[in-house]
Amino acid sequence: MSGARFSKQVFRTFLWQVRRELWEHRALWIAPLAVAAFATIVHLGTSLTASDAGRAAVLADPARARELVIHYHAMTGATVIAGLLVGVLYSLDALQGERRDRSILFWKSLPVSDRMTVLSKAAVPLVVGPLIVFPIVVVASLAMMGLQSLIWTLDGADPRELWVRVNLPFLWTALLYGLPFMALWNAPLYAWMLLMSAWSRRMAFLWAAAPFAAVLMVEHLALHHTPSHWMLERRIAGGVLQPYSADGQGVVWIERLSDLDPLRLYSLPGLWAGVLLAAGLLWAAIRIRRARTPN
């Protein structure tokens, strides 16, 4: 096979691998979609029941501007979290389910290497997840805005005021800014879960959580303080705190485009150390998958 044809087939195989994961794990897109749809419906309900006087009061007081935006933030946050959670469930099952149902013998009978398999499975929470969440948030926020504008218009209020107060382009930009960061920041956690999924025969979740639980317990009993707890908390919360609060401290939240600082965000040593760790964990998962046959 010539070089160009070879890499074309590699890319083609990668895309089909990802597609097949989406066939098998439909929750990957159904869950964030359902959450966004639910948030949109709740928003519609509250917009319908809001009184004219209440609306006027909010518009009159600049200090209450956040009340208009809060639904949009809540919908975005809930959808992102739904995407992260299905990514976790997916990662814990991705390399174990194929052994449980013996289908690993079918997958291994095809010209798809273990490296390709593991990397395409890792790409699902790291790349495909954000690519699913982003358009869902865009569409849901537009739907929410459209419905709310319609209600305002019917009530005789000026919807243009709404579009000024709720800055959708900023919301989308901030999401584009944070989603890749979250994926990279969480990469070692996903890679760890994939590794445990490849390694353990069953209950990958317990195996994935056990070492953390053990370390926390030992520290708590022996040292009476728990540095690992602090580190774990920083890692899990960091996905949101780093992109969306000033200096990642979680005290001052970003509010405008000029608050975004991609240079600081994407040069955090903790980010790239985690990516390096994730690469090592995935390498181990590839080695383990090579030796795996059905349970």
Partner: protein, 289 residues
């Protein structure tokens, strides 16, 4: 170049020696039956050839090391390992889409042609199909791949007689040609006898016999003899002996047929007879590996 070449192939699972120095050489276009009792190492040998388990000793399949190069090897090797390994959540049409996507040598129209002869609907999920239909589907997928080596590990296990017959008929009429090599393991010695060009008997991780069907035909002779001629027959050193209906059946390896005819009724043993004669009296075995 041999399609499969193994020298002193060994595999140990904890305390069980599954393969204990196996030498194999399988040429292009052969249809080879790998036979042996449970725990003889058939599955392990096939798994090593397919790159599913690590091994010691030398092993080349189509010139590649299967353990290190499985992904590449599977361009030219197909296998049906065990039964019912197709993902149960998948739709029949999805299996075709996916195969066409990842396998450059998969001919979708050919697979659809095979499926058209069955009652399998393309919008069915695999979990809705019967065991026999799943095997038909898997065979259709595999036969639509232009592969050089097809490996089948107990492909008809658990199927009824009708499906078993269909399976081998389809394989023979639509797949076999001189450039394709088939390696298959099975318990059903009877059913595949007429299909094979070569047999390899494995026993406790070793090759007990490796020969072409012509060789076997030429070498092995079974003689049914009466008690009065038994002593004279034993002088010729039979490789196996068993009593049946007041007479004794003796198996000879490489003995002159004319000479044996004087001792009793002479016939060519079936593969099943050979299997029992050569592997049947070797004492208790380890549990299946």
């Amino acid at each position: 170049m041999a399609v499969v070449e193994a020298r002193n192939l060994r595999k140990t699972y904890r305390k069980t020696q599954a393969l204990d120095g196996v030498d194999l050489s399988i040429g292009e276009g052969r249809i080879v039956g790998l036979l042996g009792p449970n725990g003889a190492g058939k599955s392990t040998a096939l798994q090593a050839i397919l790159g599913l388990v690590s091994h010691e000793g030398e092993l080349r399949v189509l010139g590649r090391d299967p353990w290190r190069e499985r992904g590449e090897l599977m361009h030219e090797v197909c296998f049906i390992a065990d039964v019912a390994v197709l993902p149960r959540w998948m739709r029949v049409s999805q299996t075709l889409d996916y195969m066409a996507g990842v396998h450059p040598r998969f001919d979708r129209a050919r697979a659809e042609g095979f499926l058209a002869r069955t009652t399998i609907r393309s919008d069915s999920r695999i979990r809705e199909l019967s065991k026999g239909m799943v095997t038909q589907l898997h065979l259709a997928l595999v036969m639509a791949v232009d592969a050089r080596l097809l490996v089948l590990d107990e492909p008809t296990l658990g199927l009824d007689l009708l499906y078993r017959k269909q399976f081998f008929d389809a394989l023979l009429s639509d797949y076999v040609d001189h450039s394709r090599t088939i390696l298959l393991s099975t318990h059903d010695v009877h059913e595949i006898q007429h299909v094979l060009t070569d047999v390899i008997f494995l026993d406790r991780g070793r090759v007990a016999l490796s020969a072409s069907m012509e060789d076997i035909e030429a070498r092995f002779v079974e003689v049914l003899t009466t008690d009065d001629r038994l002593a004279a027959a034993r002088v010729l050193k039979p490789v196996a002996e068993r009593r049946m209906f007041g007479r004794t059946s003796l198996l000879f390896d490489g003995e002159d047929r004319g000479r044996l005819a004087a001792l009793g009724e002479v016939r060519s043993p079936s593969l099943a007879d050979l299997f029992i004669a050569l592997l049947g009296e070797t004492g208790p075995r380890e549990a299946a590996a």
